[in-house]
């Protein structure tokens, strides 16, 4: 059930009416939310709801046990980790590792004629397993209170606005909101509707139109693709993946807001980042902070010397890449970011040892932002390419194109560029505006609250017009991050 479908509109209208009818009664409200979320999830494939229930049940019990004094806390945490990571390993990675192993053995001349298990990847599995894992680890560490209401916990795991593609919510943020009595306010409803419309525009107009060009370019064999197609294809994908994922997030936040619940922001103008560390503070924030808190820091973070820090960074990003999908392209994407982060850290250390500060000169900042965007796009090529061979072939074409200006004299270049720019332009404008306006939580945010509000509404009005005026390429296209 996609957010931009009429089925979802009917589903949400029903849930919204019942939710606000029951909002004074916490238990019935939680039961409604849970059942609605399970129904929402079952709409994809009811069989996988069992996995959701298993994860919910195990982590609820583990959370309760972890809160008891003198219980064998390590074992309960181990059980939670084993079940959740086991589900993830089985359904997401088993086929991949079996196939990779078979390929490796075959290349060594050994017989490895294993049939693929063809395990179907349950939608949203990476998101809800990370969310519940975060819960048990937080309870183990004493940073979150265990839920004593199974319906509250079930609603936390399966909360339908963010179930299949995040944001990955922390127990300390979402559980209390679910337990509280929400207030039905016009401000929340309007703000929710505004976010939803903007998300709808990002997804249906910007992302889905760019997807057509991207899909078109990435099926062209590397020996036939033109340099301008490689460059525009990668640029278009950079726009597509942001518009698709942040569009989903906007819709999720908007829907939750209409239920009186505030979810975490997941993006903060990532294409205006300066350096990889800044990029990861702005891109898929809920995942990057999850990886930081539950992987990088437990590995030792930056507390065990420079060399170990670099290794920890590389491991974290490698696993972060693998989290996105069971394919070597994702591993390479993660490794690319890991190495880039390590390099930046090394350069920062060197600069600090020389007593030099990072320049805040506008020109240098702009150059840094542009260079970061180029590197991010290069990484997106790894992410989007169907294989590492294709990615390398495309890079070669781009390099050869750079060395041979005549290859750019393609009459199709202007038409393709106009198409990509038409949809990429608003994406860069949105991020530039976001970067220019201080966000809530910053020192100067209060002074810019009105500007943020006015600009936000203007964008929503524009989005609404664009939804009717711009072409719709693929009305039923799923979100990219559903596959993760």
């Amino acid at each position: 059930m996609l957010f931009h479908s009429t089925t979802f509109a009917a589903f949400f209208a029903l849930v919204w009416v019942l939710y606000w009818a029951l909002h004074r009664h916490t238990r019935p409200k939680l039961i409604l939310l849970t059942l609605a979320s399970w129904a929402f999830y079952s709409a994809w494939d009811w069989r996988f709801t069992g996995l959701l229930l298993l994860s919910t049940g195990v982590d609820y019990v583990c959370g309760r046990q972890l809160a008891r004094p003198n219980s064998r806390r390590g074992r309960w945490l181990g059980l939670s980790l084993a079940v959740n990571l086991g589900i993830l390993a089985t359904f997401k990675y088993l086929d991949f590792f079996a196939a990779s192993m078979a390929t490796a053995l075959t290349s060594l001349g050994l017989q490895a004629d294993w049939a693929s298990l063809h395990i179907i990847l349950p939608v949203g599995i990476s998101f809800y397993t990370f969310q519940t894992l975060g819960y048990t680890i937080d309870v183990y560490r004493g940073r979150a209170q265990p839920s004593d209401d199974p319906w509250q916990f079930a609603a936390y795991v399966a909360f339908f606005p963010q179930l299949v593609a995040g944001p990955i919510e922390r127990a300390s943020s979402l559980l209390p909101q679910l337990a509280a009595r929400p207030r039905l306010t016009a401000a929340d409803q309007l703000e929710g509707a505004r976010r939803f419309v903007i998300g709808l525009w990002k997804k249906m107009i910007l992302a889905d139109n760019l997807a057509v060009y991207v899909d078109w370019v990435f099926v062209i064999p590397a020996d036939q693709v033109a340099p301008h197609q490689v460059c525009l294809g990668v640029l278009a994908f950079a726009g597509q993946i942001w518009a698709d994922f942040s569009g989903y997030t906007d819709m999720a936040l908007g829907i939750a807001r209409m239920l009186g619940i505030r979810l975490a922001e997941n993006f903060d103008a990532p294409y205006f980042a300066r350096g990889p560390r800044d990029f990861w503070r702005r891109w898929h924030i809920s995942l990057s902070t999850w990886l930081r808190d539950y992987l990088y820091i437990p590995l030792g973070g930056n507390r065990r010397g420079p060399a170990r820090t670099q290794i920890n960074l590389a491991i974290t990003m490698l696993l972060g890449g693998l989290w996105h999908g069971a394919a070597w392209t994702f591993v390479a994407w993660g490794a690319f970011h890991g190495l880039w982060l390590a390099l930046e850290r090394g350069v920062s250390g060197l600069r600090a040892s020389l007593g030099r500060e990072r320049s805040s000169n506008f020109v240098w900042v702009s150059l840094g932002v542009a260079a970061t965007f180029v590197m991010v796009c290069l990484a997106w090529l790894l992410f989007r390419a169907p294989s590492l061979g294709v990615a390398w072939g495309f890079v070669r074409v781009a390099i050869q194109g750079a060395a041979n200006p005549a290859s750019w004299r393609d009459p199709a270049l202007l038409i393709d560029a106009a198409f990509v720019l038409h949809f990429l332009g608003p994406i860069l404008i949105l991020q530039a505006v976001r970067r220019a306006l201080p966000q809530p939580g910053t020192e100067t945010a209060q002074a810019h609250a009105r500007t943020r509000s006015y600009v936000g509404w203007m964008i929503a009005v524009y989005a609404l017009i664009a939804l009717f005026a711009e072409p719709h390429a693929q009305p039923d296209a799923p979100f990219i991050y559903f596959q993760f």
Partner: protein, 374 residues
């Protein structure tokens, strides 16, 4: 001593704050509007008249039936409504015309007929060819003429136009023969294959709607079922059909003449290609079967494979005769691919193998018609 506040450090008034916010909002709107002014509209005219920029289609095929097309076949129609890359200005050298058999909608882009012609011809003309397919499933030549006229109305000047027709002309004859629309009980009703165990309702399932994304090859099931029982086939034409067929053939020749004139006016050379058809294979034999994509649901009759062959051959004979009469170059693909079961995934449409063979055969003749360019 504390510094005295300067005027610039004073907090902004509510009015100035509101003005600044409004200006920021208007500036944002203006920037977004500017981005939307990047021209897209001229690119959205395609054959179907849909308002799309690029159209991307993915067909899912059941590999049990379509062994060499791959489980997912995808292609895009570009902003000009053509299959393939965007072609502008005078760089277009080769344009193929036809219906779904030319479009090759179920083949991946590099495997489609037009790409195969371009690939095979490129070494002979010693430069890469820019080729495009002006083709749409179900369109007979008479309807393609309008599209070609529009497409070449401005500066687009292909050097060579390759046309392969016959399938949709025969199809139109099956579909639109007037007896179909007669009231029930009229004389021609008998030709609605009353012996068919499937009936009109069952047959309507065999019509359009098969080639939909996400149907996992299910489109093949209905025609396989329809053709599974020969009792539903119409083996020969009713004597009353013969003048209708003659009229259809004459119309086809008139369209060919119009095509030749238009091609000449646009300064292009014309190569005609006869329509090949797969040898009959019973549905139970395992080869995929999507025999007839009817233009309108619930109409037409179910010609036997033999009758289908004869009707297509009648149109091919007109193509041969017209080419000979006007001195045009002809590629007799119907003869070239005769008996090649592996060349088709159903009765009409090329498999990868078929598109490659057809592309090579056409390129061998067409390359000589293309001007050599440095």
């Amino acid at each position: 001593m504390p510094a005295s506040p300067t005027p610039s450090a004073a907090p902004p008034s509510a009015d100035s704050d509101r003005t600044r916010s409004l200006l920021a909002a208007v500036a944002t709107l203006a920037a977004l509007a500017c981005a939307s002014l990047v021209p897209l509209e001229p690119l959205t005219k395609n054959l179907a008249g849909e308002r799309v920029a690029y159209r991307h289609e993915t067909y899912e095929l059941d590999p049990r039936f379509v062994a060499d097309a791959g489980p997912r076949s995808r292609h895009a129609s570009n902003a000009q409504g053509l299959r393939g890359d965007v072609i502008v200005g005078r760089d277009l050298e080769l344009l193929t015309l036809g219906g779904s058999t030319v479009e090759c909608s179920l083949l991946d882009e590099p495997d489609a007929l037009t790409a195969r012609i371009a690939q095979a011809a490129a070494p002979q003309v010693q430069h890469p060819l820019r080729a495009a397919a002006l083709a749409q499933a179900g369109l007979p030549l008479s309807e393609l003429l309008t599209e070609l006229e529009q497409f070449t109305a401005d500066r687009r000047r292909p050097d060579l136009i390759v046309g392969m027709f016959g399938a949709n002309e025969a199809q139109a004859f099956f579909n639109h023969a007037p007896w179909v629309s007669q009231a029930k009980g009229a004389a021609w009703d008998v030709w609605l294959d009353p012996a068919s165990p499937f009936g009109t309702q069952g047959r309507s399932q065999t019509y359009r709607g098969w080639y939909q994304p996400g149907n996992h090859g299910g489109f093949l099931s209905a025609p396989r079922a329809a053709y599974a029982d020969p009792r539903g086939w119409v083996d020969e034409l009713h004597p009353g059909h013969v003048p209708l067929l003659r009229a259809a053939l004459a119309d086809y020749v008139t369209s060919l003449a119009a095509l030749e004139r238009l091609t000449h006016d646009r300064g292009a050379k014309l190569v005609l290609v006869t329509q090949p058809i797969a040898p009959w294979s019973a549905p139970a034999d395992g080869r995929g079967w999507a025999p007839f994509v009817y233009a309108e649901q619930g109409q037409g009759f179910l010609p036997s494979p033999d009758l289908t062959g004869k009707l297509v051959e009648a149109f091919n004979a007109q193509t041969r005769g017209f080419a000979a009469e006007r001195g045009l170059v002809l590629v007799d693909l119907a003869v070239e691919l005769q008996g090649c079961a592996a060349c088709f995934y159903d009765q009409w449409h090329f498999s990868d193998t078929g598109a490659a063979r057809a592309g090579a055969a056409i390129a061998a003749v067409a390359a000589a018609e293309l001007p050599n360019k440095p």
